[in-house]
Symmetry: C2
Subunit: 300 residues, 2 copies
């Protein structure tokens, strides 16, 4: 299972009860927090999301609308007596900011916070069932996108067929990962005759804040869900470029070129009260587009 | 006019739709923001308070629930194209934190932010009609309370009586400030025969976070409204002391000893869902006690 829950879908200035950027990405048993704008802890509580399951936080860049909720959140986790380690992946300057804040407050956390500075594209986290990697996006300051992928699941062994083919349990591990195996009578048994295919692994790419950038296409190729910012409608392409942001049409073009399964759009400018034009414009180019709505979860 | 509007009345962990500490203090034509917990900018918007009128912000201490909303707020004022200077009074370490945040964001404000480190008790701001001063409170880290006072208003001249007493306008200024004056016929005219008393100047003291501390009594003597934290009910006096906080009974005792006009209590612990016991316990000692309720304004 891979799901993306939206906690905040607005750009810098909170407006129309929309909040600055934050998302929760669930990949099977792992829950990841992606960006943490001001008020994210209140949004998590509003949507009854258990904080204790979050062990990794990813901060895309150090514009305030993507991290001003982080100090309060990690502090609140301490007040709630968190004990598990927490891993924070973020641009390097955040570490000094947090250190100064802790120092000024004369406080320490009751859990260990591991700070991992984002320095180059590549893998950040790997568990048995998923991996998280980062890639650079083009914004006014260093900015990172994140890709979440289920790892290929093992094939499922049919126990009855395995017995019929006289396969010992010692070869099951090799069968799970798609290899053929020799049975107790020295015969080569074809993998597919005793296993069933694993479901296709799902993937999600979060492109953070970015100008229209075709180098993204390769980085997010064929993901099941692509999140691309649409700060502006398509008539404001000039303003978007000036501010290193993107429009509906640009987000949809990236999704189309990348062959994404679904496009999720957000980071709406506070100048827009209604959002229906965002969906309409993007769908003209990429029909399977959804607005990133706060409180909603989108499944790959 | 002196009024106190509550934007947040909770202690560190947001709960029960209560927010971390922030207040707006209005003294005639001046609007002061006192502390700025996470989400304060949203609370200001919710209560339709015009940000542009705020020219001074006071931060009592550097626990996150008193300032984690500040970076977002001063940044948002920039996005709203503020041009007027803004004066920020806060413990010195905040300056480096803000500087690092601005540097990491590669951003500057379109207005001038004057940082005034809080270093000693005394006057911070003086205008024609009011003064603001700070005083130390006893908390786990350096912490400051703030006192807001109307300055003695001028007496009001009765123009008809002044004419009848043949007083020239050149002596009006002296009359306004309570002096007698010589009229055009060389007679000494008693001030009170041509002026009316100015209304009594009002005052408000905000005691921030503090342990029970009787040295506060002198600092807040006879204020019209005293805000004193009540993180806990009176049965948790030990816990309060351990954490450098106060209880209902302790806040009420300070108000009684100081001869305050009204006691306003807040900074409620997240362990309490209902607040009625806070009011009840404080009123047993100091009857004119009000709960600091978000969105409400209390007038001196």
């Amino acid at each position: 299972m891979l799901g993306v829950t939206i906690l905040g879908n607005n750009s810098a200035l909170p407006a129309f009860d929309r909040h600055p950027t934050s998302q929760l990405v669930t990949v099977d048993d792992q829950v990841f927090l992606v960006d943490c704008g001001e008020g994210s802890q209140v949004q998590l509580a509003k949507y009854k999301i258990r904080w204790s399951r979050i062990n990794h936080i990813f901060i895309s860049h150090l514009h305030g609308d993507h991290y001003f909720g982080l100090p309060g959140f990690i502090h609140s986790m301490g007040l709630l007596n968190r004990e598990n380690d927490l891993h924070l992946f973020a641009p390097a300057p955040l570490q000094n900011i947090l250190n100064l804040q802790f120092c000024a407050a004369g406080s320490t956390l009751p859990y260990t916070l591991h700070f991992h500075p984002l320095e180059q594209e590549g893998e950040l986290v790997r568990t048995d069932r998923c991996r998280v990697s980062c890639f650079a996006t083009k914004h006014r300051i260093p900015c990172w996108g994140f890709k979440f992928e289920q790892i290929r699941a093992p094939r499922k062994i049919n126990p009855l067929k395995a017995r019929n083919h006289k396969l010992a349990s010692s070869v099951f591990d090799r069968l799970k990962w798609g290899e053929d195996a020799i049975n107790e009578e020295g015969q080569l048994i074809n993998n597919e005759s005793v296993t069933e295919a694993a479901p296709k692994p799902k993937s999600y790419a979060y492109c953070a804040d970015t100008i229209y950038d075709e180098t993204l296409v390769e980085k997010v190729q064929a993901v099941d869900i692509l999140y691309h910012e649409t700060t502006y409608l398509k008539d404001l392409a000039d303003r978007a470029a000036l501010r290193f942001h993107a429009t509906t049409a640009q987000a949809a073009a990236i999704a189309l070129k990348a062959g994404a399964g679904k496009l999720l759009i957000g980071h709406f400018s506070s100048k827009y009260d209604r959002l229906d034009a965002f969906q309409q414009e993007a769908r003209e180019i990429f029909p399977n587009t959804e607005l990133a709505l706060e409180g909603a979860t989108y499944f790959a």
